[in-house]
């Protein structure tokens, strides 16, 4: 395949310069209040109503009209009219069409079913044309410029609020503020002591220091990782239909937590995940980060088409890259040019070309647990040292073997030179070939239909009657052979070789066609369903290919003959493995001589046994292509790597005897002697095999994780017509979309270059997208409301100035006046603002006029995310286990999942929610009910629903019932059984403030009623307090405990507990 992927993109530079207008006009905001702005006023109308047929999509454009650029919108059309004639609404066909009453003429046309433009929209368009129909590039594609104002966020908000006659709310009270800040930074509520300390601290920098303390907490990384896991579509299962658990990806999650806690600069955080493997001398940690690109769903449903899913995976990488880092939606241009944004279908596949160069399979293995390639071996120091040691031992054993082998060869050379007598063992062998396990000549079948093993009465081969014994001739002599149907196997009882075991298989074969793919024989459970684990001789595009496989294609050794195997002729084939597990240790002999081969793969790292199908099968494999109509004869298996002379003898019997008699070819006889009969080499060979076996055993142990590693030779990518995997169109080179900044000329056209293109401070999107998502995380709503889409269909931000101010600062170095991608500083910058600190309630009119709080005329208020509701309750009740990282845990609700799993006991029930085992087709139902996404695809925004199902979870779910009882017990003990005091304290723990008088009265009334209830029903009380893994220990009467626990549980449902205000 061509490797001409690396081309210059000069024309793109020109295209980009055209777009690089001064940013001041980009938003078009407020330059002159009277004048309309294209981006603010016009683009939304045109994009939403017109671009679908008159926009960037080249394939579906109607009437040759394109309204997304000035030149084309004002060009003369075939009809002789012009859609837009600047300043002249009477001559502008667009105006005539949008006001027409003729159903055949009016735009948008009735069949589009998107309705007519409103009178207001029509007037706006007319006014814009009258004003000269000025276009502007879409704001998000214009690089933010260095902010000139010094006022920051608050000045920008205050100025705009003033125009509405509003101002910022006063700062929230101290308790509300520390609660808000604690949840936002750590995902957990403050402790009462922390609250009191903050309330008491009246120094000017108390809040500043609070933020520093919270940002330094290890809980910060856990809270931030939860958001990133939604984008990364992190899951502990493979997804799609089979959705097998995949409990080995969590080291990536732990890396994310660590990266946040150590404040890895965001540009590096981004680069490592996209292309850490391509960094010079990449560390394991940098490679591990690239698991981000492998977290997409994977399939293993039987019968799935592998290429279809491989393309699917690459698509997912591209769309996730687009959503997470560019805030652009690429899903549309997978099948056609984007209808709204200047993204062509070619752009999609040019990005695809960056992400498809890994040695991956489209299906993971059903019958084995092999980690799909490419992968990273997770080595701790002890294992690494132990591995180095066994590697060294194997190397030494190999050297010793070679020494003995060479001595044995020397003995033969001396004999042939007449200086020594013939070695005794060689003479005694009489030209035999030792180590043969079975031999099938297929000369007829036994009475029971089996094929006899010529070496003894045991171990016949078997096959259904459909596999016929046929008469044929070979070398002028008649012979009998089996004719394969391609669907019926011939099964032998031997061949379960490990990768350290030398072995040879030999047969005569007669292919019936130039097979594109055909299995001659194999030892494996299945093809893709077992990742091809085992070994196999295939005809591949007409050539013989011999492979040992742990997981195809990335963990295998494979060699392929350079010459095709003849069709319709008998060929003797022997394939051998020397036990080294390297491609150099594989040999294909054709007609008795080693054939010229090329190395297809040389990357075997693990064992080749397992996966089912433990013995050799000829001519057929489940769901693979069989050796249809091919003939096979004289099938022999040896538990040794035969020497060339022995193979020559198999192909032409008598070759050994002749060589010995004639005493010619000292080298071949020497090899034969050393390989088959000499004692010393045999001992060393056994020692070598043992050393390799020890090494292989140890190599099985380290866990592995899917990561990115590019193939030495990039794969060719193609535009796929209509997005269909098997409809390849024109080939494409890796490149970035033409509408975005040009790819840097000095960077390689691979993921590393792509990542560097992205993290350039002059890139218009990465910083904006990141800032916007962080804003959403803190305020509940992004500055741009669609964090996944900053394209032309996105809602224009109310405060683009804030977005640009923060984006510029974030992406520029401190030397330039920025903060150099420092995420903690970015958080602090936002949280120090008065805008963030204001109280979350405004006057009723403002609340009604701006229900989503777009204006920022009040502080953030939203229901806590799923993790924080659960973690907050556990923390308040003292149950939270603050252990970081490690394998996922199974919570109380897992048995109620759609894919039920047994719940953990003990610690696993009380870990932070981000450690919960996440299975895509049956997620933990408690978290799911609070809007945690299934993580099937990249998600940049969660819903925040408020439904009756939440009441069931919080009032009846064992996690919360138990937590309430544990807290009630502790507080009753602390307060000597005085329930009133206990409940006041519970209120404080859950809401971070003390109850007022009326609230105290309500709590007391609730408690009294519950106590009366349970005192008359002590059995019920005993049942309630018995719920949960953690048993009540204090000597409290069950009714007392049940009553207090019930009220505490009710409090967990209170707005003050589950809403951040």
């Amino acid at each position: 395949m061509g490797c001409s992927k690396r081309i210059e993109s000069v024309s793109l530079v020109a295209a980009w310069l055209l777009l690089a207008w001064p940013a001041a006009v980009a938003y078009g905001a407020d330059a002159s209040p009277a004048r309309l702005s294209f981006n603010r006023d016009i683009r939304p109308i045109l994009s939403d109503n017109c671009f679908a047929c008159h926009g960037p999509d080249n394939a579906n454009r109607q009437a040759g009209l394109r309204l997304d650029t000035f030149d084309l919108a004002t060009a003369e059309l075939d009809s002789g009219t012009r859609a837009i004639v600047p300043e002249k609404i009477d001559e502008s066909e667009l105006v005539a069409r949008i006001i027409s009453d003729d159903p055949d003429a009016v735009m948008p046309p009735p069949h589009a079913k998107i309705g007519r433009l409103s009178a207001e929209q029509v007037e706006t368009l007319k006014r814009w044309i009258t004003e000269g129909a000025k276009y502007e590039p879409h704001w998000a594609f214009v690089v933010p410029v260095k902010p000139e104002t010094a006022g920051g966020i608050d000045a920008i908000v205050s100025e705009k609020l003033a125009k509405r006659g509003l101002k910022l709310q006063p700062e929230a009270d101290r308790r509300t503020l520390i609660r808000r800040a604690s949840f936002d930074i750590t995902g957990l509520p403050p402790t009462p002591a922390e609250v009191e300390a903050f309330v008491a601290d009246t120094s000017a920098d108390a809040y500043d220091r609070l933020l520093d303390r919270l940002l330094a907490s290890p809980r910060y990384g856990e809270r931030m990782a939860a958001d990133w896991m939604d984008l990364a579509r992190y899951s502990d299962s493979y997804g799609f239909q089979v959705d097998r658990p995949r409990p080995d990806m969590w080291p990536w999650r732990d890396w994310v937590i660590k990266a946040f806690n150590t404040n890895l600069p965001w540009d590096q955080f981004t680069l490592w995940q996209i292309a850490g493997d391509l960094l010079p001398n990449a560390s394991d940690e940098q490679v591990l980060a690239t698991a981000f690109n492998r977290l997409h769903q994977q399939e293993s449903e039987g019968g799935s088409v592998e290429e279809e899913y491989r393309v699917n995976y690459v698509n997912d990488r591209v769309t996730t890259f687009g959503t997470a880092f560019l805030g652009l939606t690429f899903e549309c241009c997978r099948c056609h040019d984007h209808k709204f944004d200047p993204l062509a279908q070619k752009d999609f596949y040019s990005l695809f070309a960056f992400f498809d160069d890994i040695d991956e399979a489209g299906l993971y293995s059903h019958f084995t647990q092999s980690v799909p390639t490419p992968k990273l071996r997770m080595l701790d120091q002890t294992t690494a040292a132990a591995l180095a040691k066994v590697d060294e031992a194997a190397g030494e054993a190999a050297a010793e073997y070679e020494r003995e082998e060479s001595v044995a060869r020397g003995t033969v050379a001396y004999w042939i030179a007449g200086k020594l007598p013939m070695p005794v063992a060689l003479e005694a062998a009489g030209g035999t070939i030792p180590g043969e396990l079975v031999r099938y000549s297929f000369d007829g079948r036994g009475a029971d239909g089996t094929f006899a093993n010529e070496l003894g009465s045991k171990e016949p081969a078997t096959s259904p009657g459909d596999t016929m014994v046929v008469d044929d001739s070979r070398g002028g002599r008649p012979c009998q052979a089996i004719k394969l149907t391609g669907d019926h196997p011939v099964k032998t009882p031997v061949g379960n070789f490990r990768r350290s075991q030398p072995f040879t298989v030999s047969a005569w074969i007669k292919p019936a066609a130039q097979y594109d793919r055909a299995v001659v024989f194999h030892r494996s459970g299945a093809w893709t369903d077992a990742g091809s684990r085992g070994y196999e001789l295939l005809v591949d595009g007409g050539h013989l290919r011999w492979s040992l496989v742990h997981f195809w294609p990335g963990d295998a050794v494979s060699v392929r003959c350079t010459e095709p195997v003849p069709v319709g002729e008998w060929t003797h084939v022997a394939v051998a493995s020397d036990g080294s597990g390297k491609a150099a240790g594989l040999t294909i002999f054709v007609n008795g001589h080693p054939a010229a081969t090329t190395i297809v793969r040389d990357s075997l790292t693990r064992e080749i046994t397992g996966g089912g199908g433990d013995t050799i099968t000829i001519g057929e494999r489940t769901r693979d292509h069989g050796f249809k109509n091919g003939l096979v004869d004289d099938f022999r298996v040896f538990a040794r790597a035969l020497s060339p002379l022995e193979v020559r003898d198999l192909a032409a019997p008598g070759a050994i005897a002749a060589a010995l008699a004639e005493k010619r070819d000292a080298e071949a006889i020497g090899d034969y002697f050393a390989a088959a009969f000499a004692d010393e080499p045999a001992a060393k060979r056994a020692a070598l095999e043992a050393a390799r076996r020890s090494r292989d055993d140890l190599a099985e142990r380290p866990p592995e994780i899917m990561v990115m590693r590019d193939l030495p030779q990039p794969k060719m990518a193609y535009i796929l017509e209509r997005g269909e995997y098997d409809k390849r169109g024109a080939p494409v080179e890796p490149d970035t979309p033409a509408a975005l900044p040009p790819f840097p000329a000095d960077q390689p056209k691979n993921r590393l270059g792509l990542a560097r293109w992205l993290i350039d401070p002059e890139h218009p999107l990465l910083a904006r997208v990141t800032v916007n998502r962080l804003w959403q995380s803190l305020f509940g709503l992004g500055l741009v409301q669609s964090p996944e889409d900053l394209g032309s269909q996105s809602t224009r931000p109310e405060y683009p100035e804030i977005l640009d101010l923060l984006a510029w600062q974030f992406s520029h170095s401190p030397a330039d006046g920025g903060i150099g991608w420092d995420m903690k500083r970015l958080i602090k910058t936002i949280m120090l603002s008065d805008t963030y600190r204001q109280r979350s309630i405004a006057d009723a009119k403002t609340m009604a006029d701006d229900p989503l709080n777009v204006w920022l005329a009040r502080g953030p208020r939203h229901r806590l995310p799923a993790e924080m509701i659960r973690d907050g309750a556990l923390a308040a009740c003292g149950l939270l286990v603050e252990k970081m990282g490690g394998p996922p845990v199974k919570t109380y609700d897992m048995p109620d999942s759609f894919k039920p799993e047994k719940a953990d006991t003990g610690e696993g029930l009380y870990r932070r929610s981000l450690y919960t085992f996440w299975r895509r087709t049956g997620p933990a139902p408690v978290l799911e009910s609070f809007d945690m996404p299934k993580r099937v695809v990249c998600v940049a925004r969660r819903d925040t629903t408020n439904t009756p199902l939440h009441a069931f979870v919080l009032m009846n779910g064992p996690q919360f019932v138990e937590a309430a009882r544990v807290l009630a017990e502790r507080l009753l003990v602390e307060h000597d059984g005085q329930a009133e005091l206990a409940l006041d304290r519970a209120f404080e723990l859950l809401t971070n403030r003390q109850p007022d008088d009326e609230e105290q009265q309500i709590l007391r009334r609730m408690h009294t009623a519950q106590l009366d209830w349970y005192r008359s029903r002590p059995d019920d009380a005993a049942k309630l307090v018995a719920i949960g893994d953690k048993k009540a220990t204090a000597a409290l009467p069950a009714p007392d405990l049940a009553a207090t626990a019930s009220v505490v549980n009710a409090l967990m449902n209170y707005d003050g507990s589950v809403v951040k205000r």
């Binding site: 239909q241 799935s304 669609s786 069931f952 719920i1027 049940a1042 003050g1056 809403v1059």
Partner: protein, 460 residues
Amino acid sequence: MGFGGLALADMLGRSAAAEQGGADGVLGGFHHPPKAKRVIYLFQSGGPSQLDLYDHKPLLKQRDGEQLPDSVRGGQRLTGMSGNQSSIPLAASPYAFSQYGDSGAWLSELLPHTAKVADRLCFIRTMYTESINHGPGVTFMQSGSQIPGRPSIGAWLDYGLGNEHDDLPSFVVLITKNKGGQPLMSHLWGAGFLPTKHQAVRFRSGSDPVLYVNNPPGVSAANRRQLLDGLRELHEHQFAGTPDAEITARIANYEMAFRMQASVPEVTDFSNEPQSVLDMYGPNAKDPGTFAANCLLARRLAERGVRFIQLYHQDWDHHGGLKGGITREAKETDQPAAALVQDLAQRGMLDDTLVVWGGEFGRTNYCQGLYKPGQDFGRDHHPRCFTIWMAGGGIKPGTTYGETCEYGYNIVKDGVHVHDFHATMLHLLGIDHERLTYKFQGRRYRLTDVHGKIVKGILA
């Protein structure tokens, strides 16, 4: 999940809206008067063999064991299951077919109960799809897209039409218990990119039909009421100082939750069903979680105003051992499905209830793997044609629609694509499928993507 958004509407007196029908969804009403007010979709997961149940092909008997002619196959993409098979032998159905009812519908001997209601059904023999595997196939039937991530049919309806019921969700999923076969995935009844509240509530067969709907041990409705009253007082007190609509919504949700705690057990309690009705659904009707019990529960949910009731019955994926498998599944589903149609008709509900029976694709006319005529065998997936039936709610009864070739491999006339099926279903529900849209990632999405034609030939 079907009713979360109602909380505020409830406070504002939404009973009037409910009477108008569909008024509280995003559409604010119907596009045209609906023929069906609700749907019961009996999804048969795995791909039931149309050739052994509905689509009678005498030619296969004559050609039993012969190779499928290339001219018939026409380069069709086969699955990885049989795609590399060296031979593809035709396999006749081992079951006897007869015509039933005034309409003369052809049915195999596996469906004696369906045969009795044949005149009420409309058989579509020419359904076709684009998927050759289960995961994408079921996802396509349920969401109009092969790749997970789009809203399911019921979620679209909840989004478009809202909920007419105060204390039950509008979209409920029931799954036959203890079934093997191809796994189901919760995204099949998910909300995709719509707000999650539109996803189905799955009723389980155990003691907790909805997650944690029952009070924990030691808690009764009366003392729960006391606690909720206290919680309400706390919220009202808070609202006085913090006038935020979120708080009133929360109060309403807790009231609705309390009502649901009564309504969910009521609907799942069959004790007041007469024996004659139970008998009609068959011997498993009182065993919760069986297909029979789920069919009866579906009728009870429909009576109480639930709009979309999605049943799943697994294990129709008969690659091998077809005889045993299809006999078992037919026995489990034939009587209850027929009873449901009959029961709805008796109550006058069939006129405005749409019942659908069908899977994600059909099965091949050839044998997967090795074939010996007369012996047990298997059939691979076949997307090119398969049979479903529809009944009630605006469907022309006693009809057979579409025609497949004499090999039962290709459509000859009147193909119905998955998108057409969805368009027709929405049409019957009073919705123009092109006008129920949701803007996501800058694009308007709909159930039928950019396709879908109403199948006029099956409309009453």
